[in-house]
Symmetry: C2
Subunit: 314 residues, 2 copies
């Protein structure tokens, strides 16, 4: 069997794979278009390089392992038609992403930005306004693996967690579940609104001006899911009108965020360049999931980890 990686891993990781799976041919490339794509049964990719043209040439392809959570850049339906299995690594993002979300929330409560700025001026100013996180309420849009991990940590800080998804099905570490239709009604109770929603046909543009208007003026909006949840224009005007206190954005309608974007300069927004899932342990953990699934694949077992439903898009 031939397996192609379209991103770099360390030499010792390659050696480990070859020693664990001696009968498999592993190849590595930085440019998928320059390979004999026809022969590979499995492609391991970050997901951005699989398009219809590649798919057409990849005659032997049966499994695409995406070392990322988002699979929205891939022609999922065409792959489903061909019977190509898609798996991702969504579980491995939960730790770094939840830590980033908590870092931003606590930084806002405990005045870190103000503190860093006054240190630059050598200013011993004790009148920074600090808040406690304890006792507040967070509404988590899309409490899957990542959202539940955020919920778990928030609960440890004494935060009430409300989860919101399509089905309203109970999620772990969520005190109360609601469906999307109940959102406007519950938003006035939330101090933090945190989206970790994937990009699907239902979530695109789901968030509107109405939602910002329903939020507390003191509340914080955080998008750590996908940028197409809400248009940049709507976010900018909500922040300009102070409908909410602050936004922390790790994802944007257009990435990289253009220099011309008004978001860079607004005082009540934090721009994070889609890095919240980053961690020194990323590839190591991706490979753990990959090798687990590869053993299943070789054994012909169907219950692989993190299978993607092409229809749902996650």
């Amino acid at each position: 069997m031939d397996i192609l990686f379209t991103f770099k891993i360390k030499d010792e990781q390659i050696a480990q794979l070859r020693s664990d799976f001696p009968s498999i041919q592993f190849s590595f490339t930085k440019d998928i278009r320059e390979t004999n794509i026809e022969k590979y049964e499995v492609i391991v990719t970050y997901g951005e390089d699989i398009d219809n043209a590649i798919l057409e040439r990849a005659k032997s392809l049966k499994w695409v392992m995406v070392a990322s959570a988002g699979v929205d850049q891939m022609p999922l339906l065409e792959m489903a038609d061909r019977g190509i299995v898609v798996t991702n690594v969504s579980g491995i993002h939960k730790t770094p992403m939840a830590e980033s979300v908590l870092a931003h929330i606590l930084s806002l409560c405990r005045g870190l930005l103000a503190l860093y700025k006054q240190q630059e001026r050598k200013d011993w100013n004790t009148r920074i306004r600090l808040k406690e996180l304890r006792g507040s309420t967070a509404l988590i849009l899309g409490p899957g693996a990542i959202g539940s991990e955020i919920g778990r940590l928030l609960q440890a800080f004494g935060v009430k967690t409300i989860g919101c998804n399509r089905s309203g099905r109970q999620a772990e570490f969520i005190d109360e579940m609601i469906v999307f239709d109940a959102l406007l009604e519950r938003l006035p109770h939330a101090d933090y609104v945190i989206s970790v929603l994937p990009s699907t046909k239902e979530t695109k543009g789901l968030w509107t001006e109405e939602h910002f208007k329903a939020m507390k003026e003191t509340a914080v909006f955080m998008n750590f899911g996908r940028g197409d949840l809400v248009s940049e224009e709507i976010i900018v005007s909500a922040l300009q009108e102070n409908l909410i206190a602050h936004a922390v954005l790790d994802v944007f309608e257009n990435e990289p965020l253009p220099e011309s974007s008004l978001l860079w300069d607004l005082p009540n927004v934090t721009v994070s360049p889609h890095i919240s899932s980053h961690s020194g342990k990323y590839i190591e953990r991706s490979l753990e999931i990959f090798t687990y699934n590869l053993r299943k694949w070789i054994a012909g077992e169907k219950d692989m980890k993190n299978g993607i439903d092409a229809e749902k898009g996650y």
Copy 2:
């Protein structure tokens, strides 16, 4: 009975006290020297205005309620000789302080300072080095109410907690307890060293260059207890020599930190102006403890909350 407050509380809080305790005379001043200090049985203070001269004049004084955790600015032994009861509010600091400590730790792991700086430059740079907190080890010096709360939150993030105090007696949310003498031996295992030690004769100057040398080069030192734990000179030279990766200091040998201090400019230190216990809920919570203790006082009960042992100093 006459009770003097030497700090301001809100009008509605005064009204509440007077309605809860109609037989008691409450007085309020900003300057303790301008009052008929002789008549007050109880003084409620932040603790910085009680000295031997005041004590001599305060003939009726029987109880000093300090709305602060540190009582090191007061003549404790003289007060003990006079049989004056001292209570503080140490428990109420645990939430805001633990949240501040976690905010700083997570900010360092998740690159918030770098992120804030590049936002100012409109720089979409995804190559910030981010770490996970999960899996690291923290050593907490002085795991009392505050230290245990820090331990509880760190454990929720999957951090191993080592506590260190004089007795080695087990503390809550601490995986392993050690005594001060075992510190040098365990320091090489800690990624975060967090002091919340009070100022006592044993803790003054306890931390030396040897301790910094025993730490990992990648480790972070945090002092949220009292500034006299370690001299500024020792901290500065440890940071200049990169014996450790970073220090987060909320307390200093000299406060306010003089403009001439080298700490302001070092790239690997965060200067916080002794604000980590601040919270919008501070006075509200202090008054809760005060009224609880006042009822005990009126009833002649001895088991008041947060009694201070003058010998120990905490």
